[in-house]
Symmetry: C2
C-alpha cells in the first residue's frame, strides 16, 4: 500500500510534532453534503449504502474532495455487529436505528454467535480495502466500532431510547447476564477491528455514545472495562495503530479512560480542553471539541471559537481538532469549509 | 402558619444536624402513581391540572399520603412563566411541551412583558397557599422555577429539542439578544420565586435542565450567571429560605455552582457523591443522586444502591437523598416505597 503523504493525524495521535493541528470531523461524510444526499437517495436505504463497498467508498471520499481534511473515516454504522449477529437492523425516517429481533432473555444472549468479519461483515472489509486503494496515501483512514455498552443498549432496547429502562433493568437485576452480553460484544468488536486493521484501517476509534448515561461505578464496570479489553487485544496485534476512545458525556472519567492503554481521548464540547489537558497530562492525545452548534453561526464566530479552543489546548503536540459530536445534517457546507480553514490558519503558531 | 413538625429537609439544606437523611424525589407527584393518573384524567389536560389550585394541591399531597417523605414539592411546570408571557403553552401526548408563539426575533424579545405573579400566575400562588394550609406543618413545601437558560431554550425552539439549533444560533450569532432575553427571564423568575416564598414556599429549587448542553464558557455566561442573579435577589429578601441549584449534566462545574450563593446543589447520577463532596467541601449541601433506573430493579438491588450512596456521602450533615433526575412514569410505586424505607433505615448511622 502507498506511503502516507499526510501523516498529521497519526503523528498527533501519537503525540509527535506536526506543522499544524490536524482536523477531521465526526460524520464528515454525511447528510449536510448535497453530494451525500444524492448517493443516499440512489442507494435507497441507509443499510444499502453501508453494505455497498463502492457506495460506502464514494461517500467516505466525498468530504475529502471538498475540504483539505487530514483524515478519512470509514462510512459505516456502529450497529453492523449486532446486525451480523442476526438482530435485523433497519432505519426508520426520523426515528433512527431499529432491530427486528431485540435481545431480552438469557436464551437470546446465549444464542448470539460471534460474526466472522470476513464473512458476515465482508462488506465492511471490502469497503476498507477499496477506500485505502482509492485514497492512495492521501490521508490516513480511520476505522471504528461502537463500544460494547453502547451497542448493548440498542440490542436490548431494540433501537434508540430515552431512559435505557430495559438495558438498565437487565444491568441492575441480572448483572451477570449483562456481562455475558458485553463479553460477547467485546470479542466480536475486537475481531471486527482487527479485521479492519488487516484490511487497511490506520487508526481506530471506539464510539461510546451512551457510556455517559451511567454512574461512575457502572461506567467503569459496564463500559470502560470492555473498551479496555478491546484496546489491550488490539495493541497486542497492532501496537502502532493509534486508538481513540470517545465517551460522550464522559468528561468526569477522563483519567481512567486515559489509563486504558488508548492513545487518544475524544472529548465532547462540555469539557474545556485546557481542563482536560491539565487532568490527563501528557499521557494521551486529545481530540475535539467544538460545540457542533457553533457551525450554525456566522463565519467570524466560527473562527473566534476555533481560536479559543486552539488557545485552550495551547502549544505542543497531541491535539486533533474535531467537533464534540457529529456534524448536524442542516449545517451549511461553507461553514464546514470555514472551520477547517480557521483551524489550519490559526494552529500553526502552536506548533513552532 | 403552622410550625414545621418535620424540619429535616430544611436543616439538611442548611447543613445542620438531623437524625436521618431526609428524602424527597423529583416528580414524586406524578404519573407512576395511579391516584395521580386518575386526577390527571379528571383534569382533562396537564395545563388544567397545573392551573387548578385545588387539583394541584391534591396531587402535591398524594405522595405524602403514601410515603413518609420529608418534603412536598409544588405541582407545577417550569414553563408557567413563558406561558404567562403569552407564548401559549400546551402539551402534546408523547412530545412534551410546545409553544404556540415561539420567540425568534429582536421584536419578539422586546415585546415580552414581566408577568405579575399575583395576576397572571395567581393560580400558582393560590396553589402554594392552599398546599401550605393543607400540609399544616407536616413537612416543608418546596417552590421552584426553571433556570432562565432552560426556559429560553423552550421559548426559542417552541418546545423540546435535540440539538438546540435555534437557541444556540441566537446565542452564538446574537449574544446581546440572548442576554436581553435571559435578563428578562431572570427578572420574571425572581419575581415569581419571591411571590412563591411570600405565599408560603419554604425552600426553593432552580431546575437547569439544559445547562449541561453548553460549553464551560457558555454555561457560565448564559446559564449560571442568571441563576446567580436570582439567588442574590432572593437572598436579599429571604435570607433564610434555602435555595438548591440543579444543572443536569453540570457535574463539571460544581465548584462555581457552589460559589453562587446557593445553599445546596442537586446532583444527577453521573457524578459520584463522594467526589462531589470532596470537590465542594463544606460550602453547600448536596441533593441526590440515585440513577432513576435503579427503581426498575428488584428491592434488594434498590437497597444496595441506597447503601452505596449513603456510604459515599459518609457521615455528617448536608445530604438530602433524591434521585438524580425525575422518577420515571412506569416505576412500580412499591419500589418507590422501598427506596424511602431503605434511606430511612440505613441513614441513621451516618448521623450519630
Amino acid at each position: 500500500m502507498s506511503e502516507l503523504k499526510n501523516d498529521r493525524l497519526i503523528r498527533a495521535l501519537l503525540r509527535q510534532k506536526v506543522d499544524q493541528t490536524p482536523i477531521w470531523v465526526m460524520r464528515q461524510a454525511g447528510r449536510y453534503l448535497p453530494e451525500y444526499r444524492q448517493i443516499r437517495e440512489k442507494a435507497g436505504s441507509f443499510m444499502n449504502l453501508c453494505q455497498s463497498p463502492e457506495l460506502a467508498c464514494e461517500v467516505t471520499l466525498q468530504p475529502l474532495e471538498r475540504y483539505p481534511l487530514d483524515a478519512a473515516i470509514l462510512f459505516s454504522d456502529i450497529l453492523t455487529i449486532p446486525d451480523a449477529m442476526g438482530l435485523g437492523l433497519y432505519f426508520t425516517e426520523g426515528e433512527g436505528p431499529k432491530f427486528k429481533n431485540p435481545i431480552r432473555t438469557e436464551k437470546d444472549i446465549d444464542a448470539l454467535a460471534i460474526p466472522d468479519p470476513e464473512v458476515e461483515l465482508r462488506y465492511v472489509m471490502d469497503a476498507v480495502r477499496l477506500i485505502r486503494s482509492e485514497l492512495a496515501g492521501r490521508v490516513p483512514l480511520i476505522g471504528f466500532a461502537g463500544s460494547p455498552w453502547t451497542i448493548a443498549t440498542y440490542m436490548v432496547e431494540g433501537g434508540g431510547t430515552k431512559f435505557f429502562a430495559n438495558t438498565k433493568t437487565l444491568m441492575f437485576d441480572r448483572p451477570e447476564l449483562m456481562h455475558r452480553l458485553l463479553d460477547k460484544l467485546a470479542i466480536a468488536t475486537t475481531e471486527y477491528l482487527k479485521a479492519q486493521i488487516a484490511a487497511g484501517a490506520q487508526a481506530i476509534m471506539l464510539f461510546d455514545t451512551w457510556g455517559g448515561m451511567l454512574t461512575r461505578r457502572d461506567y467503569h464496570e459496564f463500559s470502560l472495562a470492555y473498551m479496555k479489553k478491546i484496546v489491550g487485544q488490539l495493541k497486542s496485534v497492532a501496537p502502532n495503530v493509534p486508538i481513540t476512545l470517545f465517551t460522550k458525556g464522559g468528561a468526569l472519567w477522563l483519567e481512567s479512560m486515559a489509563d486504558s492503554g488508548c492513545d487518544a481521548l475524544g472529548l465532547d464540547w462540555t469539557i474545556n480542553i485546557a481542563d482536560a489537558r491539565k487532568r490527563v497530562g501528557n499521557s494521551v492525545a486529545l481530540q475535539g471539541n467544538m460545540d457542533p452548534c457553533v457551525l450554525y453561526a456566522n463565519p467570524n464566530r466560527i473562527e473566534e471559537e476555533v481560536k479559543l479552543i486552539l488557545a485552550d489546548y495551547g502549544k505542543g503536540c497531541g491535539h486533533i481538532f474535531n467537533l464534540g459530536h457529529g456534524i448536524h445534517p442542516t449545517i451549511d457546507p461553507d461553514h464546514m469549509g470555514h472551520l477547517i480553514e480557521s483551524v489550519q490558519t490559526h494552529s500553526r503558531q502552536y506548533h513552532q
